[in-house]
Amino acid sequence: MPSLFKYHFRSVFVRWRSSIATIIGLALVIAVFVMVQSLAVGIEKTSANTGDPRNLLVTRQGALAEATSVITREQFNIIRYLPGVELDATGTPLASGDTLIIINLPRRDGTGNSNVMLRGIAPTGKELRSQATLVEGRWFAPGQREAVASRRLANRFANLHVGGKFKTGGVELTVVGIFDGQRSAFDSEIWLDADEARGAFDRPDYSSMLLRIRSNEALAEIRRTIEADRRLKVKAVREVDYYKEQTRTAGPIKWLGNGLAIVMSVGALFAAMNTLYASVGARTREIGTLRVLGFRRRSILLGFLLEGALLAALGGTLGCAAAYVGWNGASAGTLGQETFTEIVFDFQITPVLIAKGIAFAVIVGLIGSFLPALRAARLPVIASLKAN
């Protein structure tokens, strides 16, 4: 049996000319599959990488996104002074009432406009979101019509560099700093002072609020208190859980990736079958010899299945490698389904995705080699020895 395996292993390389087309064909299929899926993975990872487990996010009941939520100042004040909310050095609760506004900005490369999330935060808001670190300039000063933008947005939209100005809702904001959200959802936001944003966009209320809670027990307790209070009609979830759910955008992308992979693999399947049929045809005499040497029909079948799987695994590996070299870590953006603003994320080719890609290739290889292998196993011994 090991010798048979060696025979098939070598066959793949001896007949490299016909092998290579099948391998590259499959590699392209797998590269497309991995690339498209890595976009979906990127969106999911960015969502999962956002927030602090000690934080609680409060939104209106029924609102699926912060931007469509409303928290009145009255609600804000009730919740902020609940026992269990962490206090800062001066004794004020660590809570930020946020105002989210969707604004339309021109792209840097001049290919049109898109929506961007403008987040108004309280002075404590930065402390609550320690993931965002300043990399250039300084933080905004309240009341000065100043804003800070994420580095990734600054790369994609016009006038978001330090010193850049953009006009929206009757005010002109100056960018005074650039922050890095470290691959979180904050990478898709511009921040400014919450009360200034409320004034500029004529909003009497906040959109959502973020609280730091002292302990895990206090968090459960405060959630119960908030949700049981019928005056409030709000929903409180851990910040990390909220962001983990923001993956609706990934749905159609996954659907596209799977659909593409299935149709493309059908094409590749026919090609692989062709190669293997030709290979069985050309090796009729060799197969006869193997049979004479005592190899059973099922060994021959297994051998050709293995050859198909090996061919496919090579293609799959090549495809994953190409996708990894070409796209892993590259930045992409699209319209987020929940936020209705541009979300920026990375192509993320994870080990799981690579394993999926190779497994997919091997399955295609096994299916494609089954009929040719069956034909090889059924060759009559004497006749095949006489073949030329």
Partner: protein, 382 residues
Amino acid sequence: MTIPGFVIKNAFRNKRRAALCVLSVAASLALLVTLLVILDFFINPPEDTGSSLRIAVRNKVSLAASLPVRQRTIIAKIPGVEALTCLSYFGGNYKAEKSTYFAQFGMEPDQLEAVFGEAKMPRDQLEAWIANRTSCIVGADTAKRYNLKLGDKFPLVGVIYPVDLDLTIAGIYKGTTDDRNVFFHQKYLDELLGDPGTVGMWWIKASSAEVVPGVIDRINAAFANTSAEVLAETERAFQMDFIAMMANVKSLIAYICSVVVFALALVSASTMSMAIRERIRELSVLKALGFRRHELFAFILAESFSLAAIGFIIGVGGICAAFASVDFSALSGGFLPSSLLATPRIIGIAALVAVGLGIVSSLAPAFSIARLSVVEGLKTLD
């Protein structure tokens, strides 16, 4: 035997290979056409007759910001504005669905005919809708997808707005470029929200194509430096703005199309060369009989052309039949519209690819034939 007969006999001598080759070409061309159709749907949304006369007005901040109702009377007075309705995107979920892909709008029902004349439905249905404040009209595609009839309840759960709509279907329309949309009374929404005095957008029908630019300028100027500055643009420009927001996903699909074409060329070329390599001895015999290189090349070219052509007919014909019979809207969970259509341009592109394929896949074998000496070829065993 005639020469065409010879070519066809050769092409199908190994029936299994010919079939597999044709099927792989067919599968790839079908995929290419599907991708191009989807891309076309996003990049180049279909226009209908009223499209060139319609103007969309949104808040300058973004589409998500609302507009004050008081703007209506000012816009209505602008010369060249023939009809006008508010249009508020509700963005709710149907029943217990987690994500609903058809859009729902609050509007002024008595303006439907004037602004969106393409939406056709029986007169009595339109009148019933106008008369009943909590009723709605549903596009034929949505009605089909959820198996809805007149008089059915149509509940929408608010996601953007903190209210749920409890609608009844008064009419089912068809004839627009996207027969998935649902329209209901803006008044009903206002009532549930406690009359906030805002709407989502204004949608205007101009009296003629010539006045459109002037109307757009006047509307933009009318609200400059007010608390709700607006951006008026043609319906087409509005759609294009929406598409620009898809950003990288759009170019990704275009990119994948080219990969598919390349993979296809590779696979068919290798299959074709395989077929020729097996027949080296025969071709040498033909050479020995006095056939010239260019004649042999013509044989090979004709053979690969006929395979590519059959693949094209099966693949493109099959996918067009699928577009006509399979409900892609249901298949994609409502993400795509149900009426996908392969335009002549797309079919032309697929045909060009098939022709290119025929040429490319005959190149490698043609070269080896040209180089081959007769004696060497006759000696070849395999």
